[in-house]
């Protein structure tokens, strides 16, 4: 657990609701200002969680993806009233499809950044605490699945390092390196399968999922949790209402029409920004 992070120290329910909200709103609100809020919130939170250099690395890795996603849209989507040019295929290249591509790609990047934060905060024990009683099988599968990829990578790295020490990996041409890599991959796959069975057996041996089993968790729902949870619920209700009233609306086709930035529009955007920055405010808190 990230000891210095406010949201990580809160009850799992709070973290779960927060990420459900920001992920849901990020996926649905394509208004450029909302996207910017979401992106900035996610990036600054990731920087706070993993440190600025790690966040910068993640961002640099996501940038080509953003560009690719942004450019892919006008290659397939030709709707829109503002024709900029004609593609060699004969279909028009429109300003609207470019803008939509940029927005959709921005949404993708923001959602990926939020997911990166989510894996830092919502650790396996929290998922088990949330769903362990209601659906033991699902909770265990979920936590094992979320753990699988980073763990697989770590074990694979360890095997490769051992090979390198044995001078098996670096010698020889491409084919030899491929062969040693394949051997490592094979052994790690075998390990993963075996480990999965062992974990399942171990959990069964502990009586996991049996009726009448109590479920221990470290988390206690405190007054502070109640306060943060009510703020999140307040945000959810308010933002959902504003969204249903069209205060976040932004449509591209056939022409770009965006919700006016009048008083309710500004309120909506500021409120959403406040929701996205909530974990940063919580960092200042103690206890």
């Amino acid at each position: 657990m990230n000891e210095r992070d406010g949201l990580s120290r809160r009850h799992p329910l709070v973290g779960f609701l927060f990420f459900a909200l920001v992920l849901g709103f990020s996926m649905c609100l394509l208004h450029p200002l909302s996207l910017l809020s979401s992106f900035c919130g996610a990036l600054s939170y990731l920087a706070a969680l993993r440190g600025a250099p790690a966040a910068r690395r993640t961002l640099l890795r996501l940038l080509p993806l953003w560009l690719l996603a942004a450019l892919l849209n006008p290659a397939f989507n030709h709707a829109g009233v503002t024709v900029l040019a004609y593609l060699p295929s004969g279909n028009p290249l429109t300003a609207e499809s470019l803008r939509f591509g940029l927005a959709a790609a921005g949404m993708l990047v923001a959602v990926l950044l939020w997911f990166a934060c989510c894996t830092e905060v919502m650790t396996e024990d929290k998922l088990l605490c949330l769903f362990g009683r209601a659906s033991p099988a699902l909770a265990l599968t979920l936590s094992a699945a979320l753990r699988f990829v980073p763990r697989f990578a770590a074990v694979f790295r360890a095997v490769r390092e051992t090979q390198r020490v044995n001078a098996a990996a670096e010698e020889g041409g491409v084919l030899a390196r491929f062969r040693s890599g394949a051997a490592a991959f094979s052994s790690v796959t075998t390990w993963a399968l075996e480990h999965g069975i062992e974990t399942a057996d171990g959990m069964r041996g502990r009586g996991y999922g049996l009726p009448g089993r109590t479920s221990f968790s470290l988390y206690v729902f405190t007054a502070r949790d109640r306060r943060v949870l009510s703020w999140l619920l307040f945000c959810a209700a308010g933002l959902l209402t504003l969204a249903l009233l069209g205060r976040f609306s932004w449509r591209c086709f056939p022409r770009v029409v965006r919700a006016p930035l009048d008083a309710p529009g500004v309120l909506a955007q500021l409120w959403y920004l406040a929701l996205c920055l909530t974990p940063l405010f919580l960092r200042g808190e103690e206890g």
Binding site: A75, F76, A79, Y86, S89, N91, P92
Partner: protein, 177 residues
């Protein structure tokens, strides 16, 4: 190690660019419509969406704005064409000159194109049975407009249907029943 990473990144971005270029160039037609001044053949072309006028209230506001009051996107005009030009070539040339966007998808295997939308009015905008159809001298050909070669004096009409052609005078599906 760092060098290798950079090289790989450069290689990956180069591949990405090639992929993108390929996507953009996808479906490029090798033979361009010729705008030959020496053309002696003429035909007429019109683009209408009268059927949408009755459904104006059901449509989205932004789409309803696009429908001309009289339903005529392109009034009947006489155009010159060169021998071998197809209905599609003529339509594309005329609509570009009028700056009316048209989107189509082409299937090179059948040498056929399908017109998805004209003037941002697209297929399915007015229900599942709606879309653009074309008519040459009053009859609806049962093949793509890029396979329909023009003859002198042809009267080409693009019409928007909301009912699989039944509302614009195509009785193909009526006869089938």
């Amino acid at each position: 190690m760092k060098r290798l990473g950079k090289k790989r990144l450069a290689l990956a971005s180069a591949l990405l660019l090639i992929l993108l270029a390929g996507l953009l160039l996808h479906g490029t037609r090798t033979r361009r419509a010729q705008t030959d001044a020496a053309a002696e053949n003429v035909c007429t072309l019109s683009v209408r969406c009268d059927t949408l006028l009755a459904h104006r209230d059901e449509l989205d506001d932004e789409l309803a704005r696009l429908i001309p009051a009289d339903g005529v996107l392109l009034a009947e005009t006489t155009l010159a064409f060169t021998a071998g030009e197809t209905v599609f070539d003529l339509t594309q040339r005329a609509l570009r000159a009028q700056e009316i966007p048209m989107e189509f998808s082409s299937t090179p295997f059948y040498r056929s194109v399908y017109v998805e939308g004209i003037g941002n009015l697209y297929e399915f905008d007015c229900g599942a049975l709606s879309g653009w159809m074309y008519r040459v001298n009053g009859t609806f050909p049962s093949y793509g407009s890029s396979r329909c070669t023009l003859s002198p004096g042809d009267r080409v009409e693009w019409v928007y249907t909301c009912d699989l052609g039944a509302d614009v005078g195509d009785d193909f599906y009526v006869r089938q029943e």
